[in-house]
Each structure stands twice: as C-alpha cells, then as structure tokens.
C-alpha cells in the first residue's frame, strides 16, 4: 500500500500497532483491589487491600481500626464492676463469653471463688454464647458462597438461644451478667426445660446445615483445599479456637487448662480435622456447635443447689497482683492480662482477642489465591470486627 498523505500514513501505522498488540502478551500492571471496608464478607468495617496480578492475589493486607474504641484505655478509668459492660461489646455475637475471662482474672487476684452453682450457670451461659455465635457462622458461610438459604435458617434458630439468654440475663446481646464472686441473678423457673427444648432445636439446625452445605458439591469444590494453613504456621501466628483445631492441633482450653469452669464434670469431645482448609474450619465449627448442645444438656441436669454469689464486699478493691486468664471463646482463645494496684479499677488490662491473631494470618494465607477465594477464606476464618478492633 502506498500512502498518499501524512494523515493516511499515520492511520496505517496505528492500525499495524493495534494488530501487533493483539499478538503479544498484554502488559498488565499490578492492580490494587479494595475489598471493604463495607463489604458484607467483612462482618463490619475491615478493609482488605489486595494486590492482584490478573485474577490472582499477590498480596492481601488487612487494614483495620475503623471501629477501634480503645477499651484498653477506657477500662483504666473504670471500676471492676463497670468493666463487664464494656467488654460485652468486644465479640458482640457471644457477649457473655467476653465477661468470663476478665472476671476469672479478677477473682484469681482476689483469691475469691464463685460457688459451684454460679460456676455451672456460668459454664452453661458460656456454651449458649458459643451456640449463638457459631450458629450464625454456619449459615453465613453459605452466603459467602452464594447460598442464601442457610443464613435465614441461622437467624431463625439463633433466636431460640438468644431468647434463653434473655430469659436469664435480661439482655439479648449484652447480658452484663457476670460478677466478681458469682452471678447477678439465679435462673428463672422453667428455664432448664425450655433450654433443653432449645438445644433439641439447635441440634436439628446443625443437621439441617450439614444437609444443606457440607454435602453440597459447590461447597466442597469452593472450600476443599482452599486456604490451607499448616499447624506450625497456625501456632506461630497464634491462631486459636476452631481455626487451630481445623489444622489438626488437638488443643482446647476448656479441656486442657485447669479452670473454675466445670467442663471437666461433663463428658464431651474435642473435634479436630487434619486438613487445615476452609472446609475443615467449617466442619470443626459445625461439630463443636453440636457438641456444645450436648455439654449444655449435661450441665442442665447437674446444676448443684446453693448460693450464686460468694461473700465479697460491696465496694470491690482488688489487691495488688497480676493475672492472665484465657478461655476458649466462640472465636478462639480470649485472654485478659489484668494488672491491679489495689484500686477500685484495674491499672492496666491487655485484651488478647482471638480474631486479631486469627486475621493476622491473612497476608500469609492469601498469597496466590484467586479473588473469589478471598471471600470464602475470610468467611471461614470467621472473625467479628469488634473482636479485632476492640
């Protein structure tokens, strides 16, 4: 072809360049994708800055602090009895479980022990918190995979447990029920039988979830072999709870650490899974929820009689000392390092929350996964934003 004008010559060159571009590999730069802070999979306001190469995540960096409330500073100006109402808001799905380790730490420094009846009811409420918390996850995991039905079942059946918690504590979400030396109140009449009925419903719910999700081919394809975390990595990052047990570590604080809570009085089993993938994390939580209903059933049969409050002064001054108490909370290992200087309130409290450590593994586990898997892995790690940001 002969160019008759400069204009035609330029068009010809441009066309040739366009053709050539199709034949060479496209030069794509890394793209940064922001997931969140308002993404439904983040359960709140967690932002994940993911660097992508095509469909693959090269690096994912969680950015939090959108909901940091500074509890470690706030508890320094509160009295011991006022702290429980604050720490309720850390893991808002299983609120009562947040109060227990703090109260146990204060009791250890004070050398006070709650009477047996209080310990039994504490343990029951602790497990009810677990069921209320984890049952939502069991449904929510479906949403991350595009199955909307399970989450509605979860919200429906979780309400039964919340009703039981409300009947005894007066609060659906924030019980503020635990006291140094015991509990605020005794259980109401007829509560034991109602809770047993509720546990039957929760077991049905677990079966339902197993039918709906665990055997589902899509669920299996999306979760098996995705987000694998080996045991030694999980330990190094301080992962805890079901995430750790899904990596094959047979460790449960309820069983392995001596505690005033009465888990040793009942017959139950710690579930582990060797795979360490998203599926294993779901499966372990499902089994744990079912196991928790059995624990509650057994505990309900054996509540001893007696007072629910030890003799403690009305104005509580905790003597000088330090204590670190952890419990197996719904999300994992939660601990309070309480430093007391003999005042009305704690001098310093370090709150070790499970989700903070569980999410710190995200940069490690999200190398080389595909974008849709980011959501399923995040979902399977299961965190509550208040538990990260506290």
């Amino acid at each position: 072809m002969t160019a008759t004008s400069d204009h035609q010559q330029a068009a010809y060159v441009a066309g040739q360049a366009a053709d050539a571009r199709v034949h060479v590999e496209l030069q794509t730069g890394d793209m940064t994708l922001n997931i969140g802070p308002q993404h439904p999979a983040t359960h709140g306001t967690l932002r994940i800055a993911a660097q992508l190469d095509g469909e693959m995540v090269i690096r994912a960096d969680p950015i939090m602090g959108y909901m940091h409330r500074g509890y470690e500073k706030l508890v320094e100006v509160r009295t011991y009895t006022q702290v429980t109402s604050l720490v309720n808001r850390i893991d808002w799905m299983g609120s009562f479980a947040n109060e227990v380790p703090f109260i146990l730490a204060a009791e250890q420094i004070m050398e006070v022990e709650a009477p047996p009846r209080a310990q039994w009811i504490r343990t029951i409420l602790f497990e009810l918190s677990r069921i209320a918390n984890v049952s939502l996850f069991l449904g929510d995991m479906g949403v991350q995979l595009g199955a909307l039905t399970p989450v509605f079942f979860a919200f429906r059946d979780r309400e039964h447990v919340l009703n039981q918690i409300e009947a005894i504590t007066g609060g659906r979400f924030h019980p503020n029920f635990d006291r140094i030396g015991g509990l605020k109140d005794d259980i109401p009449k007829g509560w034991i039988q109602e809770t047993k009925n509720c546990m039957v419903k929760m077991r049905q719910f677990c079966d339902e979830m197993e039918d709906l999700l665990v055997g589902n081919a899509v669920f299996q394809k999306r979760c098996r072999g995705v987000g694998v975390i080996p045991a030694d990595v999980a330990l190094g990052y301080g992962m805890s709870g079901a995430n750790l047990r899904a990596s094959g570590v047979d460790w449960d604080i309820r069983r392995d650490v001596p505690s005033p809570l009465v888990y040793n009085e009942v017959d139950w089993k710690v579930w582990t899974h060797p795979d360490g993938d998203s599926f294993a994390r779901y499966w372990v939580r499902l089994q744990e929820t079912r196991e928790a209903t059995h624990i509650v059933d057994q505990l309900l049969d054996g509540i001893p009689s007696g007072p629910i409050m030890a003799k403690v002064p009305r104005i509580i001054k905790v003597p000088e000392g330090e204590a670190y108490i952890t419990t197996e909370n719904p999300l994992g290992e939660m601990g309070y390092y309480v430093v007391s200087k003999g005042d009305l309130g704690p001098f310093r409290v370090k709150i070790r929350t499970p989700s903070f450590n569980n999410i710190s593994i995200v940069p490690w586990v999200m190398r080389g996964v595909f974008v849709p898997d980011v959501i399923t892995i995040l979902g399977s790690l299961y965190f509550i934003l208040g538990d990260i940001d506290r």
């Binding site: 939090m64 990595v233 005033p260 040793n264 601990g335 450590n357 710190s360």
Partner: protein, 243 residues
C-alpha cells in the same frame, strides 16, 4: 478445679511446689545465662520471667526451642501513676503524690520486678506442657526493643500496636505502620500521661454510685418510694402495713 483459696493456703503447711513451672524457669536460665534477671512462680497458676533488654529476641528463640511454640501476644505496660484518668477528680488516696528520695515519682512494677517506667510483656504457650509463660523486659531510655516477628510471625501486628500505642520502637520490624490509629496521629494513647479527653470534658459520675447512700437521704428515699407505692395501689399498702 485447681484453685487456691485463702483457707486452704493457711491449712497447708509446706509451700506448694510447681515442678513443671520451676523446671521451665531453670531451663530458660540455662539457655539464656544471666539473661534471666528475675522470675516469679505462682504454684498451680502462672509464671513470670524478666529477661535483659538486649536478650529479648533471644528469649523468644529460647522459649520456642523449649516447646513454647504457641504464640499469645506481645504488649507493654506503662507503670507510671499519672494524674490523668482515674485520679483526675479525686483528692484522696492520690498515689501520684508519693515520691522517692530523688523527688521523682517512684516506679512500682509488678511480678518479676523491674526498674523502668515501660516494660515489654509477652505471652507464649506450650501445648505439650499445658501452660503458658509471661516474659517481661525493661525498656530503657532509648525506648527500643528487638522484634519478635522473626521468631513468631504473629508478633508482627502486636508490635505495630505497641509501637503506636506506647511509642516504643521495635528494632528490626519489617513494616512499622499504624494499625489502629490514623496515619499521623499525635501522641501515644496507652501511655499513662496521655489524657482521656472524654473525661476532661465531662467528669465520670460512675464513682458516685458505688458509695453508700447517706442515711438522711435513705429515709427520704424510702418515704418517696412508699408514697409512690401507695398512690399506685390506692392506699392498699396502709392496710397491709397495719396487719
């Protein structure tokens, strides 16, 4: 339930011995030599070990080699008793007025001792032994400790928090950036001399409700309650009280 109460403690004559925890301290002393400065064992409950500042990272490697592979947390404590916060509105029992011979406020630290205002604090757990160990180290005037993130990757985020909340430099940390606070935040909130502004704006009324109600108010309060009760029940309370 392995918990001690004051009663059982006075009954048992020999002091209880915790072999596993004592053994751990001995092993750690062996590994670190004079790096272990002080330790405290509460039998059946817990163990605290204070190590030298320059051996902070070595102590992490040592405990990891001893089987304490399960990472807990890294944090810090500011031992200064400041006028801000709790003692802001009180004139009694103010510990900030207690000074030592130098005219400076004395620093009183907790278990396993310490000399400095800031102390680093870390917790690791052994799954085989079934208990955890709390490590501490003093932080001198250079306000710096070595990073643990080389040994326990989970320490990364915890140390970023310590860095922004206490202003303690973490030497060797890969990416010291704000984790909770916005970039460019001034001050270190968990230091004791960082004022809690909400308290300055509005004094906390919470202190009031844990004091007993004064007697003259008690009688008045009861009378008011009774009056309200009678008004609601149309004088039924009077007959009930009469019989």
């Amino acid at each position: 339930m392995v918990q001690e109460t004051p009663d059982t403690e006075s009954d048992v004559e020999p002091t209880p011995i915790d072999e596993a925890r004592d053994n751990t301290v001995a092993l750690l002393s062996e590994a670190l030599g004079d790096g272990v400065i002080e330790s405290e064992v509460k039998p059946g409950l817990d163990v605290w070990v204070r190590v030298a500042t320059d051996r902070w990272q070595d102590s992490a490697r040592a405990v990891r080699a001893m089987g304490f592979t399960y990472f807990g947390f890294v944090s810090a404590i500011d031992w200064m008793v400041a006028a801000e916060g709790r003692y802001e509105n009180t004139e009694f029992d103010d510990p900030t007025t207690e000074v030592d011979s130098d005219g400076e406020q004395a620093i009183v630290t907790g278990y396993a001792g310490g000399d400095t205002r800031f102390q680093a604090l870390a917790r690791v757990h052994s799954i085989a032994e079934g208990f955890g160990i709390t490590l501490k180290c003093d932080i001198g005037t250079d306000m710096s400790i070595d990073t643990w993130s080389d040994v326990f990757p989970g320490a990364d985020w915890h140390e970023r928090e310590v860095w922004e909340m206490f202003g303690i430099n973490i030497a060797g940390h890969p990416r010291l950036r704000n984790i909770y606070l916005p970039t460019g935040f001034e001050g270190h909130p968990l230091r004791k001399d960082f004022p809690l502004l909400a308290r300055e704006v509005k004094p906390w009324p919470g202190v009031v409700d844990i004091e007993d109600i004064p007697e003259h108010l008690q009688a008045q309060l009861e009378a008011e309650v009774m009056a309200a009760f009678e008004a609601a029940n149309g004088g039924a309370a009077e007959t009930a009280g009469g019989t």
